[in-house]
């Protein structure tokens, strides 16, 4: 046996071998998942391929889609994507702002503010979003506020998601240890400074991943805004061309594909964001 020498070249150390074996398991798993995804995607496409396969006396039927209609109208439906993203982005901004206010209100020791916050969350979470969208469209004009359809939709979505997100923010704020607040107060910070400089920056790390999750949910809930008929987003375009030309199914499937692609893209960004936010963890 040769004397033990540092392993600079040639044969690998035991640690390297174990590490490589673990990596192989990992990449084999990833490849397996990717293949399964592709198989499922192909099965899904096959389901809509309108082919009929005869197996003896039994025929396997798949769903028929009119390809000419899809080609004809895909560009028109697709032009709703930017409206959908626009509504969702504006609504999530409003929702974030309201959620932060409601969460801070929830931590307040002053009864009316605590009450406003809990009342808002209870009222909004206690009624359907679909109903709220019609409420802002129909009720506000009676007091002289005539918002364009888009803004009525943003207001409804923002208020609704704000109520749900306030719970996320509240949990994030209370996840910052009591010691942090006490320490900040001890070195002479005012409660406002403590909030701004100590609590909120740390709370954001917990709040951002679920907030981006809410954004992805909102991308799809924005479809409800089409109900009043004034916001020409993805769902509105799909239902209108589908109905008038008797191809609802094709039009809705085109919309579904776009919603899915949007979700995939935003989930990817969410993953990047989460990885970045978790870098601070030890």
């Amino acid at each position: 046996m040769s004397p033990k020498t540092p392993n600079t070249s040639g044969s690998k150390s035991q640690a390297d071998l174990i590490y490589e074996a673990q990596m192989r398991v990992k990449s084999r798993f990833a490849i397996g998942v990717a293949i399964s995804w592709i198989v499922m995607l192909m099965l899904l496409v096959f389901l809509f391929s309108s082919t009929n396969i005869a197996l003896g006396s039994f025929t396997l039927k798949t769903i028929h889609l009119d390809k000419a209609f899809i080609q004809e109208n895909i560009a028109f439906i697709a032009s709703g994507v930017e409206v959908t993203i626009g509504i969702s982005a504006l609504s999530i901004l409003l929702a974030t702002f309201l959620a932060l206010l409601a969460a801070l209100g929830r931590l307040s020791k002053f009864p009316p503010i605590y009450a406003i916050s809990t009342f808002y969350v209870s009222l909004i979470r206690g009624t359907p979003l679909y109903l709220q969208i019609f409420f802002f469209f129909l009720a506000l004009p009676q007091v002289g506020i005539i918002l364009p359809g888009l803004w009525a939709g943003v207001l409804a979505l923002g208020l609704n998601y704000g109520a749900y997100m306030s719970e996320i923010f509240r949990a994030a704020l209370s996840s910052v240890g009591k010691g942090q607040r006490e320490a900040a107060l001890a070195i002479g910070m005012t409660p406002g400074q403590t909030m701004r400089r100590i609590v909120i920056p740390q709370a954001l790390r917990f709040a951002i991943p679920p907030t981006s999750n809410e954004f992805i949910a909102m991308l799809k809930d924005s479809a409800l805004v089409s109900a009043t008929g004034f916001v020409h987003e993805l769902m509105w375009r799909a239902t209108k061309v589908g109905r008038a030309q008797f191809h609802n199914l094709e039009a809705l499937i085109v919309a579904a594909v776009f919603y899915w692609i949007m979700t995939l893209v935003f989930s990817y960004f969410q993953n990047l964001l989460e990885t970045r936010m978790s870098r601070g963890e030890r």
Binding site: N73, F76, L138, Q142, I145, I146, P148, G229, R237, F246
Partner: protein, 297 residues
Amino acid sequence: MKKLFTIISLIIVATLVLTACGGVPKAKDLLTEIQNRGTIVVSTDPNYEPQSFLNTKGKRPADTKCPSDTLTTAEMQGFDVDAAVEIGKRLGVETCFATPSWDLVTAGSWADKWDISLGSMTIKPARAKVLYFTVPYYYYDAVVAVKNDAGITSLDELSGKALCVATATTYEDWLNGVLDLPTEDILAQPPANVTVVPLDTDQECAQAINVGRTDFVGYVTASTVVAANLAQGFPIVQIGGPVYRERLAVAIDKSASLPTDTLLAELNSIITTMHADGTLAQFSIQWFGVDLTQEPK
């Protein structure tokens, strides 16, 4: 924190109040307002080919005066659309299309979101409580269509069956036995004990039958819709003749914030002229293949 919260709340309230009070000074009536604006906002339901449907190839012109949540004439097509564009021309203004859902239009209280409805609306007393109607601009019949292999050949055989209608339409009223049209326009009584299935539009009824759903045997709709469904190759058949006549007119909201009498008079005179000079008849032949603008005898 308390102070911040109060300040922000005050800002929100102030913004809402200012939005409420803002806006340009109002004209003396809706007609003048439309002329000053240079646009007339017409509500129509783009769910129906050939009455009103989207022109998916159309591009919004850059110089349009239409509000951002309305569609321009380039983005729409159909009989109702051509009639609305022509009315706009004769008023000397650009026509813009708002696309609220049908039940919001028939309910009135439009909150000035659009000026007139030109969407094949049947004149009926219940609607006339909340809307003003012009003279009719065309006419068609309500008919019943069923799945072609349902084995049903007359209205009587429909008793006890389920029928589909669009919600907030005269078809729904007829099936429920509460249709309040002049008696000379009602040509048949609804079958007894039918189950009414109200969907968003008539098109859902036709498509449900086409894809093989069996929740109802048929649907009640306009003869023009049945013709369009048949042209599409749907497995349906019309049973019996017309069940009632529909007189379709332009409507104006009674609760509009400006006086509407001058606009109504102007629209009546424009529609009468469009009947007399053959413009409406020409649109009708172009879109339906027949002239539906003559008053039925």
